[in-house]
């Protein structure tokens, strides 16, 4: 009983112990904050990546693709139909985008993806990322060119004005209407948000507003030399996944049109695709599925297909985040180790300071184990208090990290977390119970480990020598 009483009193009266508590607290809080941010970062990034990419993708090595995608899909479903929720054929190729807005020409290198929007939407979060403009208003996964989009063109605006000002001038309106129809290409395109917008000073400026006629140059397919093909499209919406890699590169157009323009529709009217996107049912092991599909497709056509899970497609990025997190953790663990040595030093001092008390306790019949228990318990309480306060502080910091970030940004005059550099506007966080308990448990263990040696020294003190110390 005297052990806990003395621990408690030492904790309350030895202000020097506060230093160890603070160092444990800071270590724990830092580790919780860093881990939560990194976990949030990687979780959110995986989320986004996974949203854009289908679970598993079957690609051909050639960008000219294959005509028998129906058979391939059938074969895939035959092998693993029970594990697959949906499939969608797509055609991906490189392209150059050219367009002019208010006399200003723009050119972008893009990744052109021919899709059937309905089926593509079933194999991922594609549809969730489609917006009409900066307002973020969602649109349906379709390339249909609505009247509203058409009227957004300069001629369209003239037409609207003419209709309003002079509703009886039907001929004038018809001329404008014809002009508009002739200007608008037949096929719609959904372009990456960052392709169609400039981001400056925290604001987005549309450089390819809805209705813009956008020209795309892409390679033709076939046996001979690839030749550039040119085709016009009307911007009907934007793809905004908040992953800058995708938003600044992707351009979606109707699959059939791309097949036609690249000369990839055969005499039987079948179009070629170079990828099949697969969405699997929940709980399916993606890697196992990819392996079994790869094996099966090898039988169909050797060395032609490549089956990859979304994680494999983004492997280096995900691995980089994981490596970063583990290195940071190792480094941060040193912080707690430093706190541990702090406790060791401070404890040794306290033992010297309390030598007389130890002598008294022994004279009153306290055992060696009892005296050791006081200091072990003291170390434990320091760890618990420091870890506890650090836990609360760290969790509060994580909870309010975005207000703290903006306050810091205002204070220092520069953005601490720049949403343009990273993929996110806000600092993402994810508190994992297992990580947090490891951190707090580890801190307590280190505090206790650091108190073992001083406690042992205290316990070994000879009562007479301890008491002579006056």
């Amino acid at each position: 009983m005297y052990k806990s009483l003395l621990c408690w009193r030492y904790l309350r009266t030895r202000y020097i112990a506060l230093a160890s508590i603070i160092s444990v607290m800071l270590g724990v809080a830092t580790m919780i904050v860093v881990n939560s941010v990194m976990a949030g970062f990687s979780a959110k990034m995986r989320d986004r990546l996974h949203g854009v990419l289908a679970d598993v993708v079957v690609e051909s090595y050639s960008i000219d693709g294959f005509y028998n995608h129906e058979e391939v899909t059938e074969r895939i479903l035959e092998v693993a139909g029970d594990r697959i929720a949906a499939t969608a054929p797509t055609m991906e190729t490189f392209a150059l985008a050219k367009w002019t807005v208010s006399g200003q020409p723009f050119t972008r290198q893009v990744q052109l993806i021919g899709v059937e929007p309905e089926s593509r939407a079933k194999t991922g979060d594609f549809a969730e990322f489609l917006v009409a403009d900066q307002s973020g208003e969602r649109i349906a996964p379709s390339f249909e060119i609505s009247e509203k989009v058409k009227l957004n063109r300069p001629v369209g605006r003239l037409l609207q004005e003419a209709r309003k000002n002079d509703p009886d001038d039907l001929i004038g309106a018809q001329i404008l209407q014809d002009q508009l129809e002739s200007e608008v290409p037949d096929h719609g395109a959904i372009i990456g948000f960052a392709v169609g917008h400039l981001h400056r000073d925290g604001k987005d400026y549309a450089i390819a507003p809805p209705g813009t006629r956008i020209g795309l140059v892409f390679p033709s397919a076939g046996q001979g030399k690839p030749k550039p093909e040119y085709d016009d499209y009307t911007v009907v919406g934007y793809f905004k996944s908040d992953m800058s890699e995708y938003d600044s590169q992707h351009v979606y157009i109707p699959l059939r049109r791309l097949q036609y323009m690249r000369g990839l529709i055969n005499e039987r009217g079948r179009g070629a695709v170079n990828a099949i996107q697969i969405k699997v049912k929940p709980g399916v092991d993606l890697d196992a599925l990819a392996r079994s599909l790869q094996g099966e497709l090898e039988k169909l056509q050797p060395n032609f297909f490549r089956v990859a899970t979304w994680e494999e497609k983004q492997g280096p990025l995900l691995a980089a985040v994981a490596v970063e997190q583990s290195i940071l953790n190792i480094l941060l663990f040193f912080i707690i180790a430093v706190a541990g040595f702090g406790i060791l030093g401070i404890f040794s001092m306290i033992v010297v300071e309390k030598t007389r008390d130890i002598g008294i306790l022994k004279a009153l019949g306290a055992s060696t184990a009892g005296v050791r228990g006081i200091f072990l318990g003291y170390g434990f309480s320091l760890g618990v208090v420091g870890g506890g306060v650090g836990l609360v502080g760290g969790l509060l910091f994580v909870e309010y990290i975005n207000p703290i970030e903006s306050a810091l940004s205002r204070l220092t005059g520069r953005r601490v977390f720049d949403g343009d550099i990273y993929y996110f506007n806000e600092i993402p966080t994810l508190v994992q119970l297992s990580t947090v308990s490891w951190i707090v448990g580890g801190a307590i263990a280190i505090a206790m480990a650091a108190s073992v040696w001083p406690a042992q020294r205290a316990a070994k003190l000879h009562p007479v020598q301890a008491l002579r110390n006056e």
Binding site: M1, R356, A363, G365
Partner: protein, 237 residues
């Protein structure tokens, strides 16, 4: 009727100072009877504190034996030794040696806290507290229960220490210069208290002092010089 309670048989003790051994006690033989009040006097370095430590099992002799009621106790296990310190002996020191973080009352309760495990202690807690309070009242500190040692005067601290020494209901009280840090008036007050307790409770009392005037109040004076008992005589009083 008198009976020998605590005995020393040929106690030798020396301390190591660097490479040389400094002999302190050279074969001490001493018998203390139950309820006796013995004063040990001697010059500084005569080994009187060391003798007290050996008798109270705070230290172990190099040679010789310590007997309690005829049984040897200097060679028992560490656990038994802790129990003897806790139950049989009560210590009083020159510089009081109270625990500064605890109140007077808690200081007096410490021997019981050490004796019992947490659960056993908590079960007896109110009785222990009442007993400690009574002891502090007995030594005249009923109004100082919650004070920290730093808030007490020297005499009050020594009285608290005496109450603590009594708390474990010891059979033998060992006092090492209990009045050494006190002015003579306070010192005599403390001594009166010890004397009274000796009579009231039949406590065996061994008191180390270099002050002959203090020693005169004992039943018997043992004079130590050069590590040996020089003579022993009944006190004048």
């Amino acid at each position: 009727m008198s009976s020998v309670q605590l005995s020393a048989r040929g106690l030798w003790k020396s301390y190591r100072k660097g490479k040389s051994e400094v002999p302190v006690l050279h074969g001490i033989d001493l018998d203390v009877e139950r309820g006796e009040f013995v004063a040990i006097v001697g010059a500084s370095g005569s080994g009187k504190s060391t003798l007290l430590h050996l008798l109270g099992l705070l230290d172990a002799p190099d040679r010789g034996e310590v007997l309690l009621d005829g049984e040897r106790i200097d060679n028992v296990s560490e656990r038994r030794r802790d129990q003897f310190r806790n139950r049989t002996f009560g210590f009083i020191f020159q510089s009081y040696h109270l625990l500064p973080e605890l109140s007077a009352l808690e200081n007096v309760m410490i021997p019981h806290m050490i004796r019992f495990g947490p659960i056993a202690y908590l079960r007896r807690r109110s009785a222990i507290r009442a007993e400690a309070t009574a002891l502090l009242e007995r030594v005249g500190l009923g109004h100082r229960l919650t004070h920290r040692p730093a808030e007490l005067s020297g005499g009050e601290m020594q009285r608290t220490a005496i109450a603590r020494a009594l708390a474990g209901r010891p059979e033998i009280l060992l006092a090492d210069e209990p009045t050494g840090n006190l002015d003579s008036e306070t010192g005599h007050g403390v001594l009166d208290l010890l004397r009274d307790l000796n009579r009231e409770r039949g406590l065996t009392m061994m008191l180390v002092t270099h002050d002959l005037q203090i020693a005169q109040r004992a039943d018997r004076i043992v004079r130590l010089a050069g590590g040996r008992i020089e003579d022993w005589a009944p006190a004048m009083a």
